[in-house]
Symmetry: C2
Subunit: 151 residues, 2 copies
DNA sequence: TCTTGAACCTGTAGCCGCTACAGATCCTAT
DNA sequence: ATAGGATCTGTAGCGGCTACAGGTTCAAGA
């Protein structure tokens, strides 16, 4: 990989080819351009987008970052850091660490859901309860001391 | 809890009180009504919503199901099953099992993200690589000084 | 009774990250 | 020249809320 080529935007690929090469939907590519995540490419005489190697690199970056769950805003920041080569590592790492914390929180939340549900489904299956354990769980009891919504 | 009281909609609680007792945002309560998840309550002479015990139960149900990650459509189905008391358990269980599968898939996806990111952040931290390992990962490069991806 | 001001009303628009059209135009192979 | 695939712009929708704006109603205190 040669990051200098990020600047190489010599027009070669129409949007369909870029889509096939990156696995990114055509509509999504146009969306990324609209929100300023991908720079506007050159155009053919008829107005069709023509992308260069730099676009291919950037879009690949975006896609891989999305696969790791980064938000588009985080990716925007990472792309800026990738272009400014002076002190990216510390800051890039910070973005990743924050994101890692988010991911771990989500995993914990989902695992909590999973265990409640798995246990409930098992109780449903053993057919020993007259009522449906799942529905009973969901009806629960209203906590009269519940706090008002914040804000 | 007494599910028969789901039909009890004798007007007592204004929306703010319902909000406090369920922990559900006022705007969200109105939203649930708009999309037909909560039935429209009685109104005062001036047009203020007045909720009964049935609404309290239903909204509690909805909230708890949301906490377990059910979608509003799934909750709609569960509420129908909760009202039709003939053969709810099997079907309710099916909804839960499908949802459980979703949750487990999400957990697996997040754990895959977590391990890639955690490993990358560690490489960032040890400062042995000249390039930023995070950005290299996102660019999809093969770092010649790095070992092939461990299994 | 009158007056505050908190609670409530309706309606609309925004958030994220796409996706799905419609209806027009372009590009390329025959 | 023509067919038909690729691309264009623009708008609207998804889920599940949240945040206003600009108005009305309710309940407690003077």
């Amino acid at each position: 990989m040669d990051r200098k080529n990020l600047q190489d935007t010599a027009p070669r690929l129409p949007i369909g080819a870029l889509s096939r090469r990156t696995g990114c939907n055509i509509e999504t590519i146009r969306y990324y351009e609209k929100i300023g995540l991908l720079s506007a490419p050159a155009r053919s005489d008829g107005g069709h987008r023509l992308y260069g190697y730099g676009h291919l690199m950037r879009l690949g970056f975006v896609r891989r970052a999305r696969e790791l769950g980064f938000t588009l805003d985080e990716i925007r920041a990472l792309l800026r850091l990738a272009e400014d080569r002076d002190r990216p590592c510390t800051e890039a790492r910070e973005v990743a660490v924050v994101h890692l914390t988010d991911i771990r929180t989500k995993i914990a939340d989902l695992q909590a859901m999973e265990s409640v549900l798995a246990e409930t489904v098992v109780r449903c299956a053993d057919g020993k309860t007259p009522e449906c354990p799942l529905l009973e769980t969901l009806f629960g009891s209203i906590d009269p001391s519940a706090r008002p919504p914040a804000g």
